[in-house]
Amino acid sequence: MTGQAKAGRPNQLLRNLNSKIASIPMILTALVIFLGGTAWTVFYSFTNSKLLPRLSFVGFDQYKRLWAAPRWIVSIENLAVYGVLSLIFSLVIGFVLAALMDQKIRFENTFRTIFLYPFALSFIVTGLVWQWVLNPEFGVQSVIRSLGWSSFTFDPLYTPSIVIYGILIAALWQGTGLVMCLMLAGLRGIDEDIWKAARVDGIPMWKTYLFIVIPMMRPVFITTLVIIASGIVKVYDLVVAQTSGGPGIASEVPAKYVYDYMFQAQNLGQGFAASTMMLITVAIIIVPWAYLEFGGRKRA
């Protein structure tokens, strides 16, 4: 048998061919749309394209103008406030609800449906409804005033300093249900024995959650964080439907700045520069995550 020839390695391109064929849509999307589109956008952010993209380069002018624009600064500040608060509150409320739901309660299905149904509605709808509920003439404020507390004031949508909280209320209403679901799935994945061990050790429920369960749910928190964060960066529809960025420019957000300048102001260059800044923000958020998620797994 020594005479047998060593079989050559077949062409590597053809191995796994079906898989490669099946992945063509993904590869095209990744390369053409996500990579190509992004590169295209970054590239044109250095031009002074107006209504149509054109190749007249102006260096960093668009960026200088961007960072000098009060509306952009306000947008960034709003995004920061909205982002941090909505992260914190989504996680806290979502987790608390999930923890409550995990207590073997009655009507679990009903409660879960109630918490989750807003997620089925679009931001447009959410924005409209909360605009309505928060309207000082008809909504919560007028109702409470009509109950006798006539000095009661709660009109976030018409008060520039707190308008972002009005948007936050609506966003939380829409999104916490999903967070709760994710958390609930995570909680259900925790080993029953851990709970038992904690009970035998005499650790009170809240301490068990705080010191044992939450640290164990790290992966769930990370997944959730990524989902919430990606939504935060993109927030647009909600603001448009609820306040259109008002009063004044008090509730502007970066995505709206991009859209308005690209299409309303017909200044693509400015819009592209703003998108590029958003991309950089996104990169700052997710590159560490992607590194942990994809880089880390290979080593594990």
Binding site: D191, D193, I194, K196, A197, R199, V200, D201, G202, I203, P204, K207, F211, I212, P215, M216
Partner: protein, 361 residues
């Protein structure tokens, strides 16, 4: 002797399913009791009831003479070790040990003392700063025991603490647990479905089936005088050989007869129970069948079907009078499949069961 844990008429239902049925059990002070049974028979459920992690549907539980039926787990003076260890993954070993004490507001000095003592007993001092993920299976096991140890409890509960480990480690840790019991002298209740663990560790074994204790006795009794067919078949690997037949008499000699083959019953330990014509089941353990050597008075013919050499022992599967019989012999003695052999049976070591009640007679 003092009763350490006492269970009276305990019942437990999950909805309509009754898992434990009117269960009674007295466990002595310092005793090592093993609950043995196949999967789903209710062992963990019973243990969880004792720990207070499940509410009984009926009945009472006493620990150290105190009725603890309604007490919280932490107030029962028990410590528990779980199959998956249930270590708190993000805490160091030291924190795992001390967390329960800190919550109970024990002074730091006392905590340090107890952790030091437990980690000395379990020899985990070098691991105190590590996290559970950085420990081997055996080390985790020890930490889990340590968590019960620091709490200075009267009763240790173990729920299959070794079944996640590989065979080698399992046999090592078995010895360690045994040693620990010898030095601590606490009451220990240990759930397992591994009979080797039960036989080697237990002072007494309670064999469970469908939520009912089938036999409660020391390992030797369980092994040699199983109370019923279930216990006999459950204990021993490979399992006891069972032959269905009836009792016959020839002259003044009692026989067990099956498939036309007679086995002399001379030497059976309770001869008074042998009535001619009674339908019985004969049980003989594989190591109590002699092959070719020391055959005794009565000799049977058989052929080797399969041979399973296992190192120290050699397991033969024989064809004998229409049934298959397993025989364990010394590992050095080898037989090739198909060869003819002679068998001898020692009835003083065999068991007879009533075919109907399945109880040992």
């Amino acid at each position: 002797m003092n009763s350490s844990v006492s269970i009276r008429d305990l019942s437990l239902n999950f909805g309509a399913v009754s898992v434990l049925k009117d269960l009674n059990l007295e466990i002595n002070d310092g005793e090592f009791l093993v609950l043995l049974g196949s999967s789903g028979c209710g062992k963990s459920t019973l243990l969880n009831c004792i720990a207070g992690l499940l509410d009984a549907s009926d009945g009472q539980i006493f620990i150290k003479g105190k009725n603890v039926t309604w007490e919280e787990p932490k107030d029962r003076g028990i410590g528990m070790v779980f199959q998956s260890y249930a270590l708190y993954p993000q805490m160091t070993v030291e924190k795992n040990l001390s967390f329960g004490l800190q919550v109970a507001k024990v002074s730091q000095q006392e905590i340090d003392k107890r952790v030091a003592r437990a980690s000395e007993i379990l020899q985990i001092q070098p691991l105190l700063k590590r996290k559970p993920a950085e420990l081997s299976g055996g080390q985790r096991q020890r930490v889990a025991i340590g968590r019960a140890l620091v709490r200075d409890v009267d009763v240790f509960l173990f729920d299959e603490p070794l079944s996640n480990l590989d065979a080698k480690l399992r046999s090592e840790l078995r010895v360690e647990i045994k040693r620990l019991h010898q030095s601590l002298k606490n009451t220990m209740i240990y759930v397992t479905h591994d009979q080797i663990e039960a036989l080697t560790l237990a002072d007494r074994i309670a064999i469970m089936k469908n939520g009912i204790i089938q036999q409660l006795a020391d390992p030797t009794t369980i092994y040699n005088k199983p109370r019923n067919l279930f216990v006999a078949g459950f204990i021993g690997s490979p399992s006891m050989n069972f032959l269905r037949g009836e009792i016959a008499k020839q002259g003044d000699q009692m026989f067990f007869t099956a498939n036309g083959v007679n086995f002399s019953l001379a030497g059976y330990d309770t001869p008074e129970a042998l009535q001619v014509g009674r339908k019985v089941i004969l049980g003989v353990r594989p190591e109590h069948v002699k092959v070719n050597e020391n055959l005794g008075a009565e000799v049977h013919d058989a052929t080797v079907d399969i041979e399973e050499p296992m190192g120290a022992d050699n397991l033969l599967w024989l064809k004998h009078a229409g049934h298959t019989m397993s025989v364990r012999i010394n590992g050095a003695r080898r037989f090739s499949p198909g060869s003819a052999v002679k068998l001898g049976f020692d009835m003083s070591l065999a068991s007879l069961f009533d075919a109907e009640t399945e109880l040992r007679i």
